[in-house]
Symmetry: D2
Amino acid sequence: MFFASDNSGPAHPKVMDAMMRANEGFRFGYGADPEMDRVRAMVRDLFEAPEAAVYLVSTGTAANSIALATLTEPWQTVFCTKLSHINEDECNAPEFYSGAKLTLVADENAKMTPTTLRATMSAEETRGVHGPQRGPVSITQVTEKGTVYTVAELKALTAVAKEFGVATHLDGARFANAIVTLDCTPAEMTWKAGIDCVCFGGTKNGLMGVEAVVFFDPKHAWEFELRRKRGAHLASKHRYLSAQMEAYLDGNLWHELASMANASGQRLADGLRKSNVVTFPFEPEANMMFFEAPRGLHKKVQAAGAQYYVMGSLDGDEDEPVLGRLVCDWSVGFNGVDAFLAALKD
Amino acid sequence: MFFASDNSGPAHPKVMDAMMRANEGFRFGYGADPEMDRVRAMVRDLFEAPEAAVYLVSTGTAANSIALATLTEPWQTVFCTKLSHINEDECNAPEFYSGAKLTLVADENAKMTPTTLRATMSAEETRGVHGPQRGPVSITQVTEKGTVYTVAELKALTAVAKEFGVATHLDGARFANAIVTLDCTPAEMTWKAGIDCVCFGGTKNGLMGVEAVVFFDPKHAWEFELRRKRGAHLASKHRYLSAQMEAYLDGNLWHELASMANASGQRLADGLRKSNVVTFPFEPEANMMFFEAPRGLHKKVQAAGAQYYVMGSLDGDEDEPVLGRLVCDWSVGFNGVDAFLAALKD
Amino acid sequence: MFFASDNSGPAHPKVMDAMMRANEGFRFGYGADPEMDRVRAMVRDLFEAPEAAVYLVSTGTAANSIALATLTEPWQTVFCTKLSHINEDECNAPEFYSGAKLTLVADENAKMTPTTLRATMSAEETRGVHGPQRGPVSITQVTEKGTVYTVAELKALTAVAKEFGVATHLDGARFANAIVTLDCTPAEMTWKAGIDCVCFGGTKNGLMGVEAVVFFDPKHAWEFELRRKRGAHLASKHRYLSAQMEAYLDGNLWHELASMANASGQRLADGLRKSNVVTFPFEPEANMMFFEAPRGLHKKVQAAGAQYYVMGSLDGDEDEPVLGRLVCDWSVGFNGVDAFLAALKD
Amino acid sequence: MFFASDNSGPAHPKVMDAMMRANEGFRFGYGADPEMDRVRAMVRDLFEAPEAAVYLVSTGTAANSIALATLTEPWQTVFCTKLSHINEDECNAPEFYSGAKLTLVADENAKMTPTTLRATMSAEETRGVHGPQRGPVSITQVTEKGTVYTVAELKALTAVAKEFGVATHLDGARFANAIVTLDCTPAEMTWKAGIDCVCFGGTKNGLMGVEAVVFFDPKHAWEFELRRKRGAHLASKHRYLSAQMEAYLDGNLWHELASMANASGQRLADGLRKSNVVTFPFEPEANMMFFEAPRGLHKKVQAAGAQYYVMGSLDGDEDEPVLGRLVCDWSVGFNGVDAFLAALKD
């Protein structure tokens, strides 16, 4: 009953197998491994983007920060929601890497809308040289509240970005979960919807720690490489990143694992809904959900062994509603979900 | 016959076993794994430093850059040799993380000396607020040319640093190899010799990609944590870093692997010396050596399958001396060395 | 009829006289001029702060950015309103100098309130190492909309900052105008109200281009000096900055000029109010005001020679309300004001 | 007898007159003053560069740092001599603005040579992504030791830069003095010699504090403007910078003042040479010189009222040679020089 995060569970056995295979013999370092050649080809195939620049880094914050720095000048501002990981959870890494700042766009159901985005980008009149200049739009998919942009919504947002002549970045730490929800292709959710750069996450979906950064226009390739190295994110024994990603792509393991996580998430959401004791401030659309429940209920479930984050103290009025967050990874399984729901009922 | 780098070979099987064990079940992320608790205790024991702050990152450049940034103000300069990794091989990462600059100290046998260090630090009169202010001294052990500072030499250098009231940093990407050469303890080669912060390398010595940063004064702990996160180097699934390091420390595997690498290195150096066809611009004291040999010889050995870096082109006068670099990792073994020496003779 | 900005008018003749006097003979550079010794003493007297650290720079953005960088760590966030100059008008300079980010606090009448500040600082839970850490609070006095914090309001805000253990910075580009409005002493509006650092503006109040940065705790002195130099803001011929500031302080010229500017501002506001054709979205409390008037009116007044900024186009429906901004400097005078009001009536 | 620096003397009366004239009436700020329009045209005329981008800042460090940042990527290195102002006297400002590092080129007579430059740029093999990439070459004219590059020497250096495909920057804090020495035109000493960007100094040659930055290719214009603003170096009351520079250009005052300074410098050098008691480590070619003389002599001259910098203590053996630096500005005059020489003889 571990629902604290989708970075809490184990890597998938196929990933471990790939690591073992990759551990044989010698390789040239720093991305010159044959595993990376295969990964590059596979990512290009997956995204139907034969010229895309493809790189690996070991953390999601690195993927976002270095990708954004490549798309942003230090006198610009990046448009994102207040809830976005780059704003709330990366301890100024995006600002550190880019030298730029972030401008917050109002969200509805944790998603920016064409209206709020256009309003913010318009209001951000640059006053000539005085204000920060408009930089890229960064969209988080799945959002940090568990909701998912439709492809049409993404297209509408990238259209606004194009009105202002700026690039779009997709923080896809939970990219796979969104694909499963939307039942669309990676190309449809990215470049066909106007996205210029995507961070294709693996860490939260069964890898040990690998994210792919994909630029659909390869002109960004060399700058990204230099920024990655300067950020100390170029792995010398790069094969161990490549091997994880290769296993992830092979046979669409990424899709299979996200399907498992989402199925658990939906089963959990359904169970909670039927319980009639919780409310969802945001509609759970993938593998993560926030739910409000009486403090006493949280205490009971946690006493039964459920592990997850509660926003606030467990000390206090038992009836007062308190917010909790549940995240299902690929490994938690229906057993885990059902155990949680049983503890809820008892 | 792969001598290109000690980041080219496989990780040790015990490391892979530890990864498999660590892959079971759930863990809280970001360093809150029980593996890390054990690693912290083991590193403190190893260094006889019960209060040391201990952190893990996945690249040597990250270890150096974040450690130095923690010790340096952005208006200071770091003293190091021209040959140091932080100067030549990190694409401005130390400057990026610290905001500071590097001032180069002349080297002899690839090592700075108390005389050259004091001369440079004195010459770097700061002219009040005009010049960069004096910052930490960074020493590379094993040097980038394969030589090793004695403990007495380290003590003499840290004494100079103390004259100027600045901290000392040890880039120990090949820390273990130096320990084997000097046959001393980690404490003797670090804090007992006046070192304030050490990057204790694992990646070049049989791990997949982990370096420990150790501050002997724990006052630096919180700043390092924030700088690591802001640099996007805090691993969410941290257990996979911890597990590698735990295997490395367990039963002193780190020492065993470095002993193997150094033994190969010394066997290789002896063989080259006896061949009478090569010269060493620097005395090979650990597992890495530079050697000058006629171009024709390089071509012959490489044709026989030896892989290593040659500084310059293999096209040209067969008799002209050309510099090559050979690095032995733990796995290359006496067979590999002997095959190389045989190819040389044929 | 020039109301575009209080940086549009001439410097006061006494300032020019002081420049002429300062131009005689030789001086050591970089702040070692005797004029600066006198300035330091006069600023300390003015603020009743005998130990304050006092420095001069030539732009308000430099004063704010270097002062904030001295008070902020690169992993922190600065709390300010959306309207603040540091957020909207400094093209990322505060972020550049500090490495930090800004978090926006909701404003009422262009001022943050203890309630909005506390709410934002509380919500900005740092999640351990993940979110930006709380940094200083920056307050703009006079606000960018022409309103003025009372001393009680300042005290209430600095009390919130102290709850969270962070410093407070006062952007006093229009410090003198606020003093005139509040009829209080510089000490009462700064350290006695809990302010740690103030940028005491001169450029908008009759100087050519000088701002004093005052830290009430001198522990910040040396760091500020180094950051100023590193930012390229240490003037070699510093006497020309000192001379301006000395003239400004001598006989309280600063207060006299701000009194003139505010008197013009209040006369202008009164006239506009009586005209019954404009509305004030913010109460004009010093020398600057925003007013909404029909587009036709703006066109008429501007055709009559009035120069000021209009927020939007002058093309369009004549009756539609459009926002304008009027700023009175010391030199515009009652004649200028009356000419404007006459143009309005005609 | 004030020879401490050419930033120690007064501004020329014509400059003060121009300031007084500029102080009348209202101007739009931030470079939109008509004075700047005239300055731009005059600089373009002077440099025979009708499309050049021309900007003003108030310090030489700002001019160098922002100009270099515009020409440099943060993963590059700037080539300069150890003695250059950007390396020794700007407290990391060039690194702060550019994010890059500096690589030092050996000097002869305080000047880099095509041989030393090519050697350093070649040695700085970038190792793919590992080392810093090659960035611009920065040349100081007059050098920090008072020597002057000939036009042929500049051409030879820029030819090397072009071999490597990088831009060239001229730190012309004493540009005018070099022009006088070489008796050539500004165009001949800059773009006709292959220079891409020049900092045309005024502060050390009779202005209060203004430097012009000139890019011969206007493509850099907008980036420079944004970097200047982000660096807090855009003056709001910009007319006071423009007015100084206009006076400087008007009637070639800049040339007249440098001619006076150089004439004093040469008279002083001749007198010292004839005295037979001093030696010049560098040939004095403009208005600045370093000289070695017995400590007793320094003491005697300083006791007579001469003010200048001595490199080391005046306490000690009277006969020991000690280095001193003398700089003549436009105002020191032959009387000042002769008084110094008389004090030397007595």
